[in-house]
Symmetry: C2
Subunit: 134 residues, 2 copies
DNA sequence: GTCAATTCCTACTAAATTACTATGAATAGT
DNA sequence: ACTATTCATAGTAATTTAGTAGGAATTGAC
């Protein structure tokens, strides 16, 4: 039950973008890579996931880069993690039909646990994370 | 962030052992395998982890098998999962020293999340799980 | 309108982990 | 002694993760 490196790196990048939010410049991958210690090419892929999820926007070309689509107060850790981790789901049987008989003793447990985790993660904004105010 | 099959199978086995708790017979791997649909050899390994964690006891030889060391009311899902999943830890940096600078923005988050998950899982007993009373 | 800086897209690969399978020794009841 | 069982450990195949690589598309700057 480990978080992937994508999840960790995604958070690092999100925090950097949060810090930059009040600037009018975009942060490019090269800068983010230096700030986070993650290779550019890998970060590109991770940020692409955040973009796809709508929490990051981008502009191309010279002086292009990335920006949060909303203030860091309004974006939660849960949103970031769900974007980069493949949906954060604890167990496949929540969306795929489980091979076990319909009456799997654990199914309800996984659902509640999943809900529990996400509820918690959605109480924490990027601002709070950046300020370590958790 | 997926639960391993060990975690799922471990719970299945634990529920079977819970049902058997009031009997004076031990459940052997072969029976458990049939009840859960998991191969005997794999189950052996999983139950060994539970035994190591002290929630299951065993006797060898003819008419040997396994039994919970305490009533299913007194054993939680969290105990089972921590036994079979390698400690359930969300992220390595909770016990291994993290390569990131000491001031990792996420560390506190992982700790709280880890605590959160375990607290929840420890509120659910095997009895509750077996009765789907979650 | 060309050039350079950037994102975007997608294929590939190496390493690690997971999910088993296999073999056989140790033990205990009958 | 025999048989049913757990216990210990090694091996392996499949899957996933974590990253590399190459280049096309786009945009701003000059």
């Amino acid at each position: 039950m480990k978080m992937s490196s994508k999840a960790r790196y995604g958070l690092y990048a999100a925090v950097e973008l949060a810090k930059n939010y009040n600037s009018d410049e975009y942060l490019n991958v090269s800068t983010l890579s230096q700030a986070t210690g993650v290779t550019e090419k890998y970060l590109e892929q991770i940020i692409a996931l955040m973009k796809k999820a709508g929490i990051v926007s981008a502009t191309r070309g010279a002086s292009g880069g990335y920006k949060l689509t909303a203030g860091p107060d309004a974006i939660t850790v849960g949103q970031v993690l769900r974007a980069v981790e493949d949906n954060l789901e604890i167990v496949d049987c929540l969306h795929v039909e489980c091979s076990q008989r319909g009456k799997c003793v654990a199914r309800n447990l996984w659902e509640k646990l999943y809900h529990n985790i996400n509820s918690y993660l959605d109480t924490i904004s990027l601002t709070q994370l950046a300020e370590d105010n958790i």
